[in-house]
Protein backbone atom coordinates (compact mmCIF):
# COMPACT_ATOMS: atom_id res chain seq x y z
CA UNK A 1 0.00 0.00 0.00
CA UNK A 2 2.79 2.40 0.87
CA UNK A 3 4.61 1.46 -2.35
CA UNK A 4 1.40 2.20 -4.21
CA UNK A 5 1.07 5.61 -2.55
CA UNK A 6 4.72 6.50 -3.11
CA UNK A 7 4.74 5.44 -6.76
CA UNK A 8 1.43 7.24 -7.34
CA UNK A 9 2.94 10.37 -5.82
CA UNK A 10 6.00 10.39 -8.10
CA UNK A 11 4.15 9.40 -11.24
CA UNK A 12 1.49 12.04 -10.65
CA UNK A 13 4.21 14.57 -9.94
CA UNK A 14 5.70 13.86 -13.34
CA UNK A 15 2.41 14.63 -15.05
CA UNK A 16 1.63 17.75 -13.06
CA UNK A 17 5.13 19.05 -13.60
CA UNK A 18 4.56 18.73 -17.33
CA UNK A 19 1.51 20.97 -16.91
CA UNK A 20 3.21 23.49 -14.66
CA UNK A 21 6.28 23.82 -16.87
CA UNK A 22 4.05 24.50 -19.86
CA UNK A 23 1.70 27.22 -18.60
CA UNK A 24 0.85 28.11 -22.18
CA UNK A 25 -0.79 24.70 -22.47
CA UNK A 26 -2.96 25.37 -19.42
CA UNK A 27 -3.90 28.81 -20.75
CA UNK A 28 -4.83 27.44 -24.17
CA UNK A 29 -6.98 24.79 -22.51
CA UNK A 30 -8.84 27.53 -20.65
CA UNK A 31 -9.50 29.67 -23.71
CA UNK A 32 -12.26 27.42 -24.92
CA UNK A 33 -14.42 27.44 -21.77
CA UNK A 34 -13.87 31.17 -21.42
CA UNK A 35 -15.15 31.68 -24.95
CA UNK A 36 -18.18 29.52 -24.20
CA UNK A 37 -18.80 31.42 -21.06
CA UNK A 38 -18.77 34.86 -22.64
CA UNK A 39 -20.01 33.99 -26.10
CA UNK A 40 -22.98 31.94 -24.99
CA UNK A 41 -23.43 34.15 -21.98
CA UNK A 42 -23.95 37.17 -24.24
CA UNK A 43 -25.76 35.38 -27.04
CA UNK A 44 -28.39 33.78 -24.84
CA UNK A 45 -28.45 36.52 -22.21
CA UNK A 46 -32.15 37.21 -22.58
CA UNK A 47 -33.21 33.57 -22.69
CA UNK A 48 -33.76 33.66 -18.92
CA UNK A 49 -36.77 35.83 -19.56
CA UNK A 50 -38.46 32.57 -20.46
CA UNK A 51 -39.71 30.51 -17.51
CA UNK A 52 -37.79 27.47 -16.28
CA UNK A 53 -34.30 28.78 -15.61
CA UNK A 54 -34.95 29.64 -12.01
CA UNK A 55 -32.62 32.63 -12.11
CA UNK A 56 -32.70 36.16 -13.43
CA UNK A 57 -29.11 36.01 -14.74
CA UNK A 58 -28.22 33.64 -17.57
CA UNK A 59 -24.57 33.77 -16.48
CA UNK A 60 -25.59 32.28 -13.12
CA UNK A 61 -27.27 29.50 -15.03
CA UNK A 62 -24.40 29.01 -17.46
CA UNK A 63 -21.32 28.83 -15.18
CA UNK A 64 -22.03 25.33 -13.81
CA UNK A 65 -22.78 24.19 -17.36
CA UNK A 66 -19.46 25.45 -18.68
CA UNK A 67 -17.55 23.98 -15.73
CA UNK A 68 -19.06 20.58 -16.45
CA UNK A 69 -18.69 20.86 -20.22
CA UNK A 70 -15.04 21.78 -19.76
CA UNK A 71 -14.49 18.74 -17.54
CA UNK A 72 -15.85 16.58 -20.34
CA UNK A 73 -14.07 18.34 -23.19
CA UNK A 74 -10.64 18.19 -21.53
CA UNK A 75 -10.68 14.73 -20.03
CA UNK A 76 -12.05 12.95 -23.06
CA UNK A 77 -8.60 13.44 -24.64
CA UNK A 78 -6.75 11.56 -21.89
CA UNK A 79 -6.48 8.52 -24.14
CA UNK A 80 -4.24 10.38 -26.59
CA UNK A 81 -1.66 10.86 -23.84
CA UNK A 82 -1.87 7.20 -22.89
CA UNK A 83 -1.51 6.22 -26.52
CA UNK A 84 1.60 8.37 -26.88
CA UNK A 85 3.13 6.77 -23.81
CA UNK A 86 2.48 3.35 -25.30
CA UNK A 87 3.92 4.29 -28.67
CA UNK A 88 6.95 5.92 -27.13
CA UNK A 89 7.64 2.87 -24.99
CA UNK A 90 7.31 4.82 -21.75
CA UNK A 91 4.57 2.57 -20.45
CA UNK A 92 6.56 -0.57 -21.22
CA UNK A 93 9.62 0.90 -19.50
CA UNK A 94 7.56 1.46 -16.34
CA UNK A 95 6.27 -2.09 -16.63
CA UNK A 96 9.81 -3.51 -16.58
CA UNK A 97 10.43 -1.58 -13.37
CA UNK A 98 9.38 -2.45 -9.84
CA UNK A 99 6.58 0.11 -10.06
CA UNK A 100 3.13 -0.58 -8.68
CA UNK A 101 0.84 -1.25 -11.65
CA UNK A 102 -2.07 0.46 -9.96
CA UNK A 103 0.06 3.56 -9.41
CA UNK A 104 0.43 3.96 -13.18
CA UNK A 105 -3.36 4.09 -13.51
CA UNK A 106 -3.80 6.18 -10.37
CA UNK A 107 -1.48 8.83 -11.76
CA UNK A 108 -3.94 9.34 -14.63
CA UNK A 109 -6.86 9.76 -12.29
CA UNK A 110 -5.10 12.05 -9.82
CA UNK A 111 -3.72 14.27 -12.57
CA UNK A 112 -7.20 14.55 -14.02
CA UNK A 113 -8.60 15.35 -10.58
CA UNK A 114 -6.10 18.14 -9.93
CA UNK A 115 -6.36 19.54 -13.45
CA UNK A 116 -10.16 19.57 -13.50
CA UNK A 117 -10.36 21.13 -10.05
CA UNK A 118 -7.98 23.89 -11.06
CA UNK A 119 -9.76 24.67 -14.31
CA UNK A 120 -13.17 24.57 -12.67
CA UNK A 121 -11.98 27.03 -10.05
CA UNK A 122 -10.71 29.38 -12.76
CA UNK A 123 -14.02 29.23 -14.62
CA UNK A 124 -16.00 29.88 -11.44
CA UNK A 125 -13.70 32.79 -10.67
CA UNK A 126 -13.94 34.30 -14.16
CA UNK A 127 -17.71 33.85 -14.07
CA UNK A 128 -17.80 35.70 -10.78
CA UNK A 129 -15.72 38.53 -12.23
CA UNK A 130 -18.17 38.76 -15.11
CA UNK A 131 -21.01 39.17 -12.65
CA UNK A 132 -22.27 35.66 -11.94
CA UNK A 133 -23.44 35.08 -8.39
CA UNK A 134 -23.23 31.82 -6.46
CA UNK A 135 -25.87 31.82 -3.75
CA UNK A 136 -24.87 28.27 -2.76
CA UNK A 137 -21.57 29.66 -1.48
CA UNK A 138 -18.27 27.79 -1.10
CA UNK A 139 -20.02 24.51 -0.30
CA UNK A 140 -21.93 24.79 -3.56
CA UNK A 141 -18.73 25.50 -5.49
CA UNK A 142 -17.04 22.47 -3.94
CA UNK A 143 -19.98 20.24 -4.86
CA UNK A 144 -19.94 21.58 -8.41
CA UNK A 145 -16.23 20.78 -8.64
CA UNK A 146 -16.84 17.33 -7.24
CA UNK A 147 -19.45 16.69 -9.92
CA UNK A 148 -17.05 17.99 -12.60
CA UNK A 149 -14.19 15.84 -11.31
CA UNK A 150 -16.39 12.73 -11.26
CA UNK A 151 -17.58 13.41 -14.80
CA UNK A 152 -13.96 13.99 -15.85
CA UNK A 153 -12.99 10.70 -14.24
CA UNK A 154 -15.69 8.86 -16.18
CA UNK A 155 -14.62 10.23 -19.55
CA UNK A 156 -10.89 10.22 -18.78
CA UNK A 157 -11.04 6.54 -17.87
CA UNK A 158 -13.17 5.69 -20.91
CA UNK A 159 -10.81 7.61 -23.17
CA UNK A 160 -7.83 5.73 -21.71
CA UNK A 161 -9.66 2.47 -22.26
CA UNK A 162 -10.24 3.32 -25.91
CA UNK A 163 -6.62 4.44 -26.27
CA UNK A 164 -5.32 1.13 -24.93
CA UNK A 165 -7.78 -0.92 -26.98
CA UNK A 166 -7.71 0.64 -30.43
CA UNK A 167 -4.25 2.28 -30.39
CA UNK A 168 -5.30 4.84 -32.95
CA UNK A 169 -5.59 8.51 -32.23
CA UNK A 170 -8.00 8.86 -35.15
CA UNK A 171 -10.49 6.66 -33.31
CA UNK A 172 -10.29 8.79 -30.18
CA UNK A 173 -10.62 11.98 -32.22
CA UNK A 174 -13.58 10.53 -34.09
CA UNK A 175 -15.41 9.33 -31.00
CA UNK A 176 -14.80 12.60 -29.14
CA UNK A 177 -15.90 14.79 -32.02
CA UNK A 178 -18.99 12.65 -32.34
CA UNK A 179 -19.81 12.77 -28.62
CA UNK A 180 -18.99 16.27 -27.41
CA UNK A 181 -21.74 18.34 -29.00
CA UNK A 182 -24.61 15.83 -28.67
CA UNK A 183 -23.74 15.23 -25.02
CA UNK A 184 -23.61 18.96 -24.42
CA UNK A 185 -26.80 19.91 -26.22
CA UNK A 186 -28.76 16.90 -25.02
CA UNK A 187 -28.42 18.31 -21.53
CA UNK A 188 -29.40 21.35 -19.52
CA UNK A 189 -25.99 23.00 -19.98
CA UNK A 190 -27.44 25.84 -22.08
CA UNK A 191 -31.18 25.33 -21.94
CA UNK A 192 -33.68 24.77 -19.15
CA UNK A 193 -35.25 21.32 -19.07
CA UNK A 194 -38.82 22.62 -19.40
CA UNK A 195 -37.90 24.31 -22.69
CA UNK A 196 -36.46 21.13 -24.27
CA UNK A 197 -38.57 18.87 -26.51
CA UNK A 198 -39.88 15.86 -24.64
CA UNK A 199 -37.64 13.34 -26.42
CA UNK A 200 -34.59 15.42 -25.58
CA UNK A 201 -35.60 15.52 -21.93
CA UNK A 202 -35.86 11.74 -22.09
CA UNK A 203 -32.35 11.36 -23.42
CA UNK A 204 -30.92 13.98 -21.06
CA UNK A 205 -32.14 11.90 -18.12
CA UNK A 206 -29.52 9.30 -19.07
CA UNK A 207 -26.76 11.78 -19.90
CA UNK A 208 -23.98 11.80 -17.25
CA UNK A 209 -23.12 15.33 -18.33
CA UNK A 210 -26.63 16.37 -17.37
CA UNK A 211 -26.34 14.63 -14.00
CA UNK A 212 -23.24 16.67 -13.28
CA UNK A 213 -24.89 19.94 -14.37
CA UNK A 214 -27.98 19.25 -12.30
CA UNK A 215 -25.99 18.42 -9.19
CA UNK A 216 -23.61 21.37 -9.55
CA UNK A 217 -26.28 23.89 -10.48
CA UNK A 218 -28.60 22.89 -7.69
CA UNK A 219 -25.78 22.96 -5.13
CA UNK A 220 -24.88 26.49 -6.28
CA UNK A 221 -28.45 27.77 -6.10
CA UNK A 222 -30.01 29.64 -3.19
CA UNK A 223 -32.19 26.69 -2.31
CA UNK A 224 -30.38 23.43 -3.19
CA UNK A 225 -32.41 20.30 -3.75
CA UNK A 226 -30.16 18.05 -1.67
CA UNK A 227 -31.93 14.90 -2.77
CA UNK A 228 -31.16 15.76 -6.39
CA UNK A 229 -27.56 16.71 -5.61
CA UNK A 230 -26.99 13.48 -3.70
CA UNK A 231 -28.60 11.18 -6.25
CA UNK A 232 -26.87 12.70 -9.31
CA UNK A 233 -23.51 12.77 -7.51
CA UNK A 234 -24.06 9.19 -6.45
CA UNK A 235 -24.82 8.08 -10.00
CA UNK A 236 -21.72 9.87 -11.23
CA UNK A 237 -19.64 8.23 -8.52
CA UNK A 238 -20.95 4.80 -9.47
CA UNK A 239 -20.23 5.45 -13.14
CA UNK A 240 -16.76 6.78 -12.31
CA UNK A 241 -15.96 3.65 -10.32
CA UNK A 242 -17.23 1.48 -13.18
CA UNK A 243 -15.15 3.37 -15.73
CA UNK A 244 -11.99 3.16 -13.65
CA UNK A 245 -12.55 -0.56 -13.12
CA UNK A 246 -13.02 -0.95 -16.87
CA UNK A 247 -9.83 0.96 -17.68
CA UNK A 248 -7.90 -1.00 -15.06
CA UNK A 249 -9.17 -4.25 -16.58
CA UNK A 250 -8.10 -3.05 -20.01
CA UNK A 251 -4.70 -2.13 -18.63
CA UNK A 252 -4.34 -5.66 -17.26
CA UNK A 253 -5.31 -7.05 -20.64
CA UNK A 254 -2.75 -4.73 -22.23
CA UNK A 255 -0.06 -6.09 -19.91
CA UNK A 256 -0.92 -9.62 -20.96
CA UNK A 257 -0.87 -8.78 -24.65
CA UNK A 258 2.42 -6.85 -24.72
Amino acid sequence: MTALAVDTWWLTGRRLKALVTQPIFVIVMLIQPVIWLFLFGSLFRRVVELPGFGTASYLDYLVPGVVVMNALAVNMWAGIGTLEEIERGTLNRFLTMPVSRSAIMNANVVEQLVGTTFQSAVIVLLGGLAGATYPGGPAGVVLLMLAAVLLGTVFGALSNTIGMLVRQRESIIGINTFLLLPLTFLSTVFMARELMPGWMQGIAAFNPLDWAVQAGRSALSADPDWGLVASRTGWLLALAVLSVVLSTRTFRAYQKAV
Binding site: G13, R14, R88, N92, T96, P98, V99, R167, Q168, K256
Partner: protein, 341 residues
Protein backbone atom coordinates in the same frame (compact mmCIF):
# COMPACT_ATOMS: atom_id res chain seq x y z
CA UNK B 1 24.63 -24.65 -27.89
CA UNK B 2 28.25 -23.84 -27.10
CA UNK B 3 29.14 -22.70 -23.63
CA UNK B 4 32.58 -22.14 -22.20
CA UNK B 5 31.70 -22.56 -18.54
CA UNK B 6 28.69 -23.98 -16.71
CA UNK B 7 26.20 -21.72 -14.88
CA UNK B 8 25.08 -19.86 -12.92
CA UNK B 9 24.08 -17.84 -15.92
CA UNK B 10 23.15 -14.18 -15.91
CA UNK B 11 20.34 -15.02 -18.31
CA UNK B 12 19.01 -18.42 -19.17
CA UNK B 13 16.04 -19.08 -21.41
CA UNK B 14 14.83 -22.56 -22.18
CA UNK B 15 12.48 -23.49 -25.00
CA UNK B 16 10.48 -20.26 -24.99
CA UNK B 17 7.35 -20.41 -27.08
CA UNK B 18 5.12 -17.42 -27.68
CA UNK B 19 2.20 -17.13 -30.06
CA UNK B 20 0.45 -13.81 -30.40
CA UNK B 21 -3.25 -13.51 -31.14
CA UNK B 22 -4.07 -14.13 -34.79
CA UNK B 23 -1.55 -16.96 -34.81
CA UNK B 24 1.64 -14.92 -35.17
CA UNK B 25 4.28 -17.38 -33.95
CA UNK B 26 6.89 -15.07 -32.46
CA UNK B 27 8.95 -17.70 -30.63
CA UNK B 28 9.04 -21.37 -31.52
CA UNK B 29 11.36 -22.75 -28.83
CA UNK B 30 14.08 -20.21 -28.14
CA UNK B 31 16.87 -21.15 -25.76
CA UNK B 32 19.93 -19.16 -24.77
CA UNK B 33 22.46 -18.82 -21.99
CA UNK B 34 24.33 -15.65 -21.16
CA UNK B 35 27.43 -15.68 -18.96
CA UNK B 36 27.80 -13.03 -16.27
CA UNK B 37 29.80 -10.04 -17.44
CA UNK B 38 29.61 -10.68 -21.15
CA UNK B 39 27.99 -8.84 -24.02
CA UNK B 40 25.61 -11.26 -25.63
CA UNK B 41 24.11 -10.44 -28.99
CA UNK B 42 20.80 -11.69 -30.36
CA UNK B 43 21.19 -11.29 -34.09
CA UNK B 44 18.37 -11.70 -36.54
CA UNK B 45 16.24 -9.91 -39.09
CA UNK B 46 13.18 -7.90 -38.12
CA UNK B 47 10.42 -10.23 -37.04
CA UNK B 48 12.78 -13.06 -36.05
CA UNK B 49 11.58 -12.94 -32.45
CA UNK B 50 14.39 -10.99 -30.77
CA UNK B 51 12.15 -8.32 -29.34
CA UNK B 52 9.65 -10.88 -28.08
CA UNK B 53 12.46 -12.77 -26.37
CA UNK B 54 13.61 -9.57 -24.67
CA UNK B 55 10.03 -8.76 -23.64
CA UNK B 56 9.79 -12.12 -21.88
CA UNK B 57 13.20 -11.81 -20.22
CA UNK B 58 12.36 -8.29 -19.00
CA UNK B 59 9.04 -9.52 -17.51
CA UNK B 60 6.87 -7.61 -19.96
CA UNK B 61 5.44 -10.62 -21.74
CA UNK B 62 4.59 -14.11 -20.59
CA UNK B 63 5.54 -17.08 -22.79
CA UNK B 64 3.09 -19.86 -23.66
CA UNK B 65 5.70 -22.32 -22.43
CA UNK B 66 9.35 -22.50 -21.50
CA UNK B 67 11.40 -21.10 -18.63
CA UNK B 68 13.37 -17.91 -18.14
CA UNK B 69 15.85 -17.09 -15.40
CA UNK B 70 17.40 -13.65 -15.13
CA UNK B 71 20.04 -12.67 -12.56
CA UNK B 72 19.31 -15.90 -10.71
CA UNK B 73 15.56 -15.23 -10.41
CA UNK B 74 12.70 -16.95 -12.17
CA UNK B 75 11.37 -14.27 -14.51
CA UNK B 76 8.01 -15.98 -14.88
CA UNK B 77 7.32 -16.76 -11.23
CA UNK B 78 9.00 -13.80 -9.56
CA UNK B 79 8.92 -10.95 -12.07
CA UNK B 80 9.07 -8.43 -9.21
CA UNK B 81 12.49 -9.69 -8.13
CA UNK B 82 13.82 -9.63 -11.66
CA UNK B 83 12.61 -6.06 -12.19
CA UNK B 84 14.89 -4.79 -9.42
CA UNK B 85 17.92 -6.43 -10.98
CA UNK B 86 17.57 -5.50 -14.63
CA UNK B 87 17.74 -2.35 -16.69
CA UNK B 88 16.02 -1.98 -20.03
CA UNK B 89 16.76 0.28 -22.97
CA UNK B 90 14.03 0.28 -25.57
CA UNK B 91 14.32 0.83 -29.30
CA UNK B 92 12.74 4.24 -29.20
CA UNK B 93 13.13 7.19 -26.91
CA UNK B 94 10.83 6.40 -24.02
CA UNK B 95 11.83 9.46 -22.02
CA UNK B 96 9.22 12.07 -21.20
CA UNK B 97 9.68 14.63 -23.99
CA UNK B 98 8.41 17.59 -21.97
CA UNK B 99 10.57 16.83 -18.95
CA UNK B 100 14.26 17.66 -18.80
CA UNK B 101 16.95 15.01 -19.02
CA UNK B 102 17.67 15.45 -15.34
CA UNK B 103 14.00 15.17 -14.35
CA UNK B 104 13.68 11.96 -16.34
CA UNK B 105 16.65 10.46 -14.52
CA UNK B 106 15.47 11.68 -11.12
CA UNK B 107 12.01 10.15 -11.61
CA UNK B 108 13.56 6.89 -12.77
CA UNK B 109 15.78 6.81 -9.68
CA UNK B 110 12.88 7.57 -7.38
CA UNK B 111 10.79 4.79 -8.83
CA UNK B 112 13.66 2.43 -7.99
CA UNK B 113 13.65 3.78 -4.46
CA UNK B 114 16.68 6.09 -4.60
CA UNK B 115 16.36 9.24 -2.50
CA UNK B 116 18.19 12.35 -1.40
CA UNK B 117 21.94 12.71 -1.79
CA UNK B 118 22.39 9.21 -3.19
CA UNK B 119 19.91 9.97 -5.97
CA UNK B 120 21.40 13.37 -6.77
CA UNK B 121 24.87 11.92 -6.90
CA UNK B 122 23.86 9.05 -9.16
CA UNK B 123 22.02 11.37 -11.56
CA UNK B 124 24.94 13.79 -11.75
CA UNK B 125 27.31 10.88 -12.33
CA UNK B 126 25.21 9.48 -15.18
CA UNK B 127 24.67 12.86 -16.83
CA UNK B 128 28.39 13.40 -16.75
CA UNK B 129 29.24 9.97 -17.99
CA UNK B 130 26.86 10.12 -20.95
CA UNK B 131 27.93 13.62 -21.83
CA UNK B 132 24.52 15.11 -21.07
CA UNK B 133 25.48 17.55 -18.31
CA UNK B 134 25.15 20.61 -20.54
CA UNK B 135 21.76 19.47 -21.79
CA UNK B 136 20.52 18.26 -18.39
CA UNK B 137 18.17 21.22 -17.94
CA UNK B 138 16.67 21.03 -21.42
CA UNK B 139 13.52 19.17 -22.37
CA UNK B 140 14.42 15.88 -23.99
CA UNK B 141 12.18 16.76 -26.93
CA UNK B 142 15.02 19.01 -28.13
CA UNK B 143 17.68 16.28 -27.86
CA UNK B 144 19.36 14.81 -30.94
CA UNK B 145 18.86 11.13 -31.71
CA UNK B 146 22.23 10.27 -30.23
CA UNK B 147 21.54 12.24 -27.04
CA UNK B 148 18.12 10.64 -26.64
CA UNK B 149 19.67 7.22 -26.97
CA UNK B 150 22.38 8.03 -24.43
CA UNK B 151 19.73 9.27 -22.01
CA UNK B 152 17.82 6.07 -22.60
CA UNK B 153 20.87 4.00 -21.62
CA UNK B 154 21.43 6.21 -18.58
CA UNK B 155 17.79 5.61 -17.53
CA UNK B 156 18.42 1.88 -17.70
CA UNK B 157 21.47 2.19 -15.44
CA UNK B 158 20.16 4.45 -12.66
CA UNK B 159 19.71 1.64 -10.15
CA UNK B 160 22.97 -0.18 -11.06
CA UNK B 161 21.33 -3.26 -12.56
CA UNK B 162 23.08 -6.60 -12.91
CA UNK B 163 21.78 -7.24 -16.41
CA UNK B 164 21.15 -4.56 -19.01
CA UNK B 165 18.88 -5.28 -21.96
CA UNK B 166 19.49 -3.17 -25.03
CA UNK B 167 16.89 -3.52 -27.76
CA UNK B 168 18.36 -2.42 -31.09
CA UNK B 169 20.60 0.16 -29.44
CA UNK B 170 21.72 1.88 -32.64
CA UNK B 171 18.72 1.57 -34.93
CA UNK B 172 17.97 4.93 -36.49
CA UNK B 173 21.25 6.54 -35.45
CA UNK B 174 23.59 8.18 -37.93
CA UNK B 175 26.97 6.47 -38.42
CA UNK B 176 28.79 8.85 -36.11
CA UNK B 177 26.31 8.45 -33.25
CA UNK B 178 26.30 4.71 -33.85
CA UNK B 179 30.08 4.48 -33.48
CA UNK B 180 29.88 6.54 -30.28
CA UNK B 181 27.17 4.24 -28.92
CA UNK B 182 29.31 1.20 -29.71
CA UNK B 183 32.18 2.66 -27.70
CA UNK B 184 29.77 3.38 -24.87
CA UNK B 185 28.40 -0.16 -24.80
CA UNK B 186 31.86 -1.69 -24.92
CA UNK B 187 32.87 0.58 -22.04
CA UNK B 188 29.80 -0.44 -20.01
CA UNK B 189 30.62 -4.09 -20.31
CA UNK B 190 33.97 -3.41 -18.72
CA UNK B 191 32.16 -2.36 -15.56
CA UNK B 192 31.99 -4.70 -12.64
CA UNK B 193 29.47 -7.43 -13.06
CA UNK B 194 27.31 -5.79 -15.72
CA UNK B 195 25.97 -8.30 -18.20
CA UNK B 196 24.59 -6.91 -21.44
CA UNK B 197 22.12 -8.61 -23.70
CA UNK B 198 21.58 -6.69 -26.90
CA UNK B 199 19.46 -7.37 -29.92
CA UNK B 200 20.49 -6.16 -33.29
CA UNK B 201 19.79 -6.67 -36.92
CA UNK B 202 23.15 -5.22 -37.90
CA UNK B 203 25.71 -7.93 -38.60
CA UNK B 204 28.51 -5.45 -38.15
CA UNK B 205 27.22 -4.47 -34.73
CA UNK B 206 27.02 -8.05 -33.51
CA UNK B 207 30.47 -8.80 -34.90
CA UNK B 208 32.01 -5.77 -33.29
CA UNK B 209 30.31 -5.76 -29.87
CA UNK B 210 29.23 -9.23 -28.87
CA UNK B 211 31.49 -11.56 -26.92
CA UNK B 212 29.07 -14.27 -27.89
CA UNK B 213 25.99 -14.22 -30.01
CA UNK B 214 23.00 -16.26 -31.00
CA UNK B 215 21.54 -16.14 -34.46
CA UNK B 216 17.77 -16.03 -34.31
CA UNK B 217 15.58 -17.07 -37.18
CA UNK B 218 11.85 -17.70 -37.19
CA UNK B 219 11.54 -17.65 -33.43
CA UNK B 220 14.43 -19.84 -32.38
CA UNK B 221 18.19 -19.82 -32.05
CA UNK B 222 19.79 -21.49 -35.06
CA UNK B 223 23.42 -21.00 -34.03
CA UNK B 224 25.33 -19.64 -31.03
CA UNK B 225 28.91 -18.99 -30.13
CA UNK B 226 31.57 -16.33 -30.37
CA UNK B 227 31.61 -14.47 -33.70
CA UNK B 228 34.93 -16.16 -34.51
CA UNK B 229 33.64 -19.61 -33.61
CA UNK B 230 30.64 -19.15 -35.81
CA UNK B 231 32.70 -17.91 -38.71
CA UNK B 232 35.29 -20.62 -38.08
CA UNK B 233 32.68 -23.35 -38.34
CA UNK B 234 32.18 -22.43 -41.93
CA UNK B 235 35.57 -23.82 -42.92
CA UNK B 236 36.85 -21.95 -45.87
CA UNK B 237 36.18 -18.87 -47.92
CA UNK B 238 32.92 -17.67 -49.26
CA UNK B 239 32.50 -17.43 -53.01
CA UNK B 240 29.65 -15.27 -54.16
CA UNK B 241 28.55 -15.09 -57.76
CA UNK B 242 26.01 -12.53 -58.82
CA UNK B 243 23.99 -13.66 -61.85
CA UNK B 244 22.62 -11.41 -64.57
CA UNK B 245 19.25 -13.12 -64.79
CA UNK B 246 17.16 -15.31 -62.51
CA UNK B 247 17.30 -18.96 -63.51
CA UNK B 248 14.44 -21.38 -63.99
CA UNK B 249 14.61 -24.68 -62.12
CA UNK B 250 16.55 -26.65 -64.75
CA UNK B 251 19.07 -23.90 -65.31
CA UNK B 252 19.47 -23.49 -61.54
CA UNK B 253 20.25 -27.19 -61.21
CA UNK B 254 22.79 -26.97 -64.02
CA UNK B 255 24.50 -23.95 -62.48
CA UNK B 256 24.66 -25.57 -59.04
CA UNK B 257 26.15 -28.80 -60.32
CA UNK B 258 28.57 -26.94 -62.58
CA UNK B 259 29.95 -25.17 -59.56
CA UNK B 260 29.81 -28.23 -57.33
CA UNK B 261 32.04 -30.20 -59.74
CA UNK B 262 35.00 -27.97 -58.96
CA UNK B 263 37.56 -29.37 -56.49
CA UNK B 264 37.27 -28.10 -52.91
CA UNK B 265 33.86 -26.51 -53.50
CA UNK B 266 30.86 -27.38 -51.29
CA UNK B 267 27.63 -26.03 -49.85
CA UNK B 268 26.45 -24.54 -53.11
CA UNK B 269 23.28 -22.49 -52.64
CA UNK B 270 21.28 -20.35 -55.01
CA UNK B 271 19.28 -17.51 -53.51
CA UNK B 272 17.64 -15.34 -56.15
CA UNK B 273 20.43 -13.87 -58.23
CA UNK B 274 23.04 -14.91 -55.77
CA UNK B 275 24.98 -18.15 -56.16
CA UNK B 276 27.12 -18.93 -53.12
CA UNK B 277 29.55 -21.64 -52.17
CA UNK B 278 32.32 -22.48 -49.73
CA UNK B 279 35.79 -23.24 -50.98
CA UNK B 280 39.08 -24.15 -49.31
CA UNK B 281 40.80 -21.53 -51.40
CA UNK B 282 38.29 -19.05 -52.74
CA UNK B 283 40.54 -17.14 -55.12
CA UNK B 284 41.78 -20.32 -56.82
CA UNK B 285 38.23 -21.41 -57.58
CA UNK B 286 37.16 -18.23 -59.36
CA UNK B 287 38.58 -18.88 -62.89
CA UNK B 288 37.27 -22.45 -62.96
CA UNK B 289 33.87 -21.37 -61.69
CA UNK B 290 33.55 -18.73 -64.39
CA UNK B 291 34.53 -21.21 -67.09
CA UNK B 292 32.08 -23.86 -65.86
CA UNK B 293 29.20 -21.41 -65.61
CA UNK B 294 29.88 -19.88 -69.03
CA UNK B 295 29.99 -23.36 -70.49
CA UNK B 296 26.63 -24.08 -68.87
CA UNK B 297 25.19 -20.95 -70.47
CA UNK B 298 24.80 -18.96 -67.24
CA UNK B 299 25.72 -15.31 -67.55
CA UNK B 300 27.64 -13.87 -64.60
CA UNK B 301 27.67 -10.24 -63.41
CA UNK B 302 30.20 -10.27 -60.55
CA UNK B 303 32.32 -12.74 -58.64
CA UNK B 304 33.77 -12.27 -55.17
CA UNK B 305 35.80 -14.52 -52.94
CA UNK B 306 36.13 -13.54 -49.29
CA UNK B 307 36.85 -14.73 -45.78
CA UNK B 308 33.58 -15.76 -44.11
CA UNK B 309 31.40 -13.03 -42.61
CA UNK B 310 28.50 -13.25 -40.22
CA UNK B 311 26.29 -12.88 -43.25
CA UNK B 312 27.68 -16.18 -44.46
CA UNK B 313 27.02 -17.66 -41.04
CA UNK B 314 23.46 -16.47 -41.27
CA UNK B 315 23.03 -17.96 -44.72
CA UNK B 316 24.39 -21.26 -43.52
CA UNK B 317 22.08 -21.57 -40.53
CA UNK B 318 18.98 -19.74 -41.64
CA UNK B 319 19.13 -20.84 -45.25
CA UNK B 320 18.82 -17.36 -46.69
CA UNK B 321 20.67 -14.10 -46.98
CA UNK B 322 20.36 -11.76 -44.04
CA UNK B 323 19.35 -8.67 -46.00
CA UNK B 324 16.73 -10.67 -47.81
CA UNK B 325 15.24 -12.10 -44.63
CA UNK B 326 15.17 -8.59 -43.25
CA UNK B 327 13.44 -7.17 -46.31
CA UNK B 328 11.02 -10.12 -46.34
CA UNK B 329 9.95 -9.63 -42.80
CA UNK B 330 9.54 -5.91 -43.29
CA UNK B 331 7.08 -6.38 -46.09
CA UNK B 332 5.16 -9.42 -44.93
CA UNK B 333 5.16 -9.64 -41.15
CA UNK B 334 2.54 -7.61 -39.41
CA UNK B 335 3.58 -6.93 -35.87
CA UNK B 336 0.82 -7.88 -33.49
CA UNK B 337 -1.26 -5.31 -31.61
CA UNK B 338 0.06 -2.25 -33.33
CA UNK B 339 3.03 -0.94 -31.40
CA UNK B 340 4.42 -4.25 -30.21
CA UNK B 341 7.76 -4.17 -31.98
Amino acid sequence: MTTTTEGPYAVEAHELVKTYPKGVRALTGLSLRVQPGEIFGLLGPNGAGKTTAVKILTTLAHPDSGTATVAGQDALRHPGRVRRLIGTVSQRSSADPVATGRDNLVLQGRLYGLRGAELRQRVTELLDRFDLTDAAGRRTRSYSGGMQRRLEVALGLVHRPQVLFLDEPTTGLDPEARAAMWDEIARLAGEEGLTILLTTHYLEEADRLADRLAIVDKGRVVAAGTPDQLKGELHGDAVHIELRTTLDETAAGTARSALGRLPGVREVTLDGLRLSARADDGAAVVPGALAELTAAGVSVATVTAARPSLDDVYLRYAGRRFAEADADSDSTTQTPTGGAR
